[in-house]
Amino acid sequence: MRQSSVIARRVAAASVSLVVAAGAAACGPKDNDAKSSGGDSEPHKGGTLTVLNSNPQSDFDPARLYTSGGGNVPSLVFRTLTTRNRENGAAGAQVVPDLATDTGRPSKNATVWTYTLKKGLTFEDGTPITSADIKYGIERSFAAELSGGAPYLRDWLIGGADYQGPYKDKKGLDSIETPDALTIVFHLNKPEGEFPYLATQTQFTPVPKAKDTGTKYEEHPVSSGPYKVVKNENDGERLTLERNTHWSASTDAERKAYPDKIDVRSGLDSSVINQRLSSSQGADAAAVTTDTNLGPAELARVTGDKELASRVGTGHFGYTNYIAFNPKVKPFDNPKVRQAISYAIDRTSVINAAGGSSLAEPATTYLPNQKSFGYTPYDHFPAGASGNAAKAKAVLAEAGYKNGLSVTLTHSNSKDFETSPEIATAIQDALKKAGITVKLQGLEENDYSDKIHGAKTEPGFFLAHWGADWPSGGPFLAPIFDGRQIVKDGANFNTGFLDDKSVNTEIDAINKLTDLGEAAKRWGALDKKIGEQALTVPLFHPVYKRLYGKGVKNIVISDWTGVLDISQVAVK
């Protein structure tokens, strides 16, 4: 299950880069629009929006998509039971109803969730959407040939672990009930207060059984959203979407759907995308990207040009880059050694290596610095902006390393800035001042990923990162710190091998909460408590800068995705 999370994080990270907003999340994109488009900043219907992306939509089957909050382009075609709030900043990290009338009614300790569909919902051919279509959509995501989605449904639904999907098992999943055409009930095998977040994923979109063509369904999925797929060329490299005339804004409070047509072109190099957006010639004036952000060098150039700078949006996404320790490897079994490294870290250098203060914010907590995650500030081993070498030396001496020590830091050789050699050398340089000699071990990316997620191969001291499938502390803390999730053979994400009874019981207790605000507070408190063990050294939370074309209006970037929401933009 965790391996899938890796994919999710990659998908999320990719989408993250999309963020195009005006200034920081605090400063509304609408201000920007007004500046860049002169007098008429009001969004109007019409026109063609071009989306310039690097990654093709090679999976466009709702069963196979692994998205955070339903994705960006997919969300134009697939409506789900719930969805993310299409607002700027923190408000956008909330879950809101979509096809359903509310975000779900829990009962029996949050093990049973009931949803009622809105009235008058139809597919692109005018046939009504029923609860049976949603059940069928979920069931087909269990089919082996349509795998790729998040693992939660299989883990949470009663009977989910053994269900083979509707092609092999015609009887269907008993844990999803459809007592009438508008009601759907989910029976879970354990309390899951965060079920409404899960119901935003594309597996919760209705699929009419009569139109299901199995693995070919992705070529022409039946739309429930404001746009339908009219052309899918080269396995998702170019998607053409046009209005779904059966969609009605009266049942959809979230999607604005201003443009008449959406032309998604992918397979482009990220520098080409940014170059095209910055020159904004012809159709590129009405272009955005949903998977490319500005790199440090591009940012340096853009910030030197007023006109370009006015077309940059900023987004945040729940993500943390950190140093991980394996306490089974000496000398990291000694908490003092882990603390000394925490004290010595120079976050200014690390952040510069990651692209500077506009592209990364210093992190001292494991949870992202956002309210929806339950962010509770703490800094147990204060290093200041540039490291506290004296304190680190003192702690090292207490640990018995008066003359310093020598350790190996494992990182990936990939040019991807998250775990790159640049960040590793910044850490090496900072620890040198505290008397810690760091040898660098750079591994090829797949090798690196396999090694750090193998219980037997895990190095003692390495660069890591984590992002959540939805903006809450649950998917952030549980996989990493729940002792019952240690995997001896296979992909293990509890890299600190923490198996603390009090942590495990608290995780269970929070999962029972259906008040998401209350749950967030408890996740924050738990994070603070786990932080005392210094199993990780949080380094930074990335920030995403996105460029968009001259003619693009109504920029909305939520903290859920950190990406420009293309259901909101207008090109007229």
């Binding site: 440090p296 340096a300 120079d346 692209g355 500077g356 203060s357 506009s358 640049e422 090496q428």
Partner: protein, 355 residues
């Protein structure tokens, strides 16, 4: 120039004196080429800079690995503060974007890697080429067949792809510059081995070798005493051209992320980090690119000068070949342009004298 060379007297047929007079003649011919002299000076300077890297950076008061976060504008992606990438009295060539590391220090330390790896790789190539080439030429038909086919396979291997594969599988604990030198050396010796074999076949036909064999010398002794000195010229010529090629390969491998590892600076690695900065901080890209350009150009011009100085054909413009030599030349294939003959051998002496 070639007129002057053509007019130069032929070396004595007495081959005990051939070595000394060949060397003298070589230096004279080399000195006559102004471009080669300039190139030699540049190469000497580069070698000196590489050797004196710690000294030079000490004079500047910097080192190649220390971060200077205050010298970059963090909010603007880490672009160096100040004009021309932060050039000043403290940082002669400015600082690296994002990290603030001193570019002069990184450049001169990078020269060590570039030149060191390239020269070491060349030595490995020459060693393997001589062993394989001479063994093939002197061995029986089967030895020759096996070694020659092996050489052909090596020539056919795509150098970059093989290097990438080899460098990816060797554990990270192996010293990286040594590894890069070995990998380049072990993959790119094929052409040189063919030249050595061809030249050895030519020499084998000559009277003094026949005389040595008749007087009962063993193969090993003939190879060592009679053949190796005759191989010196083509080896020197070709190696002089191999060094710049190897510099390029090392830079390419580092550029692709499998060369030397950070924080060890290398020009190729600097290029890969700098490619995205060409608009925001052009000097960051231009410095390693310029260094590579100058080094490769100087070495190539020098190599060409050496080839001209050693090539009797440039002197005599005469080609008189035995049947066996023609076969050898065909065998050398791609190396036909760099098929120098040892000056000072009786055959060449005769030719030049006739001229």
């Amino acid at each position: 120039m070639s007129e002057a060379l053509a007019a130069s007297p032929a070396p004595a047929a007495d081959f005990s004196a051939a070595g000394a007079s060949g060397a003298r003649q070589f230096w004279r011919r080399l000195r006559a080429q102004r471009a080669a002299l300039v190139a030699a000076a540049v190469v000497a300077l580069l070698v000196l800079v590489a050797l004196a890297a710690p000294l030079l950076t000490a004079v500047e008061g910097q080192d190649p690995t220390t971060y200077h976060p205050s010298l970059v504008d963090s909010a603007r992606g880490g672009v160096p503060v100040g004009p021309l990438g932060g050039i000043g009295a403290d940082h002669w060539l400015g600082v690296e974007p994002q990290t603030g590391r001193d570019l002069f220090a990184r450049l001169v330390y990078g020269a060590r890697v570039s030149l060191g790896v390239a020269i070491a790789a060349t030595l490995v190539q020459v060693l393997i080429a001589v062993v394989v080439g001479v063994s093939a030429a002197l061995g029986n038909r089967w030895v020759d067949q096996v070694l020659s086919r092996m050489t052909e396979i090596i020539v056919a291997l795509p150098l970059m792809i093989m290097s990438l594969a080899l460098l990816a599988i060797v554990p990270g604990s192996f010293p990286r510059p040594v590894l890069v030198a070995l990998v380049i050396g072990l993959i790119a010796w094929g052409t040189l081995a063919k030249i050595v074999r061809a030249q050895t076949l030519t020499l084998k036909q000559l009277d003094y070798v026949a005389a040595a064999r008749l007087s009962g010398w063993g193969t090993w002794r003939i190879a060592r005493r009679d053949l190796l000195p005759g191989l010196a010229a083509p080896l020197i010529t070709y190696s002089a051209l191999l060094v710049p090629m190897n510099i390029g390969v090392e830079a390419a491998l580092s550029f692709l992320g499998v060369g030397v590892k950070p924080p060890t600076p290398s020009w190729g690695q600097m290029l890969t980090a700098a490619d995205v900065w060409y608009q925001a901080a052009p000097q960051y890209l231009l410095l390693p690119a310029g260094a590579l350009f100058v080094t490769v150009l100087a070495l190539t011009v020098l190599g060409d000068g050496v080839r001209t100085a050693l090539d009797p054909r440039a002197a005599s413009r005469l080609r008189v070949g035995t049947g066996r030599r023609g076969e050898a030349r065909a065998d050398a294939g791609t190396a036909a342009g760099t098929d120098p003959l040892r000056p000072g051998t009786p055959a060449d002496g005769t030719k030049e004298a006739t001229a």
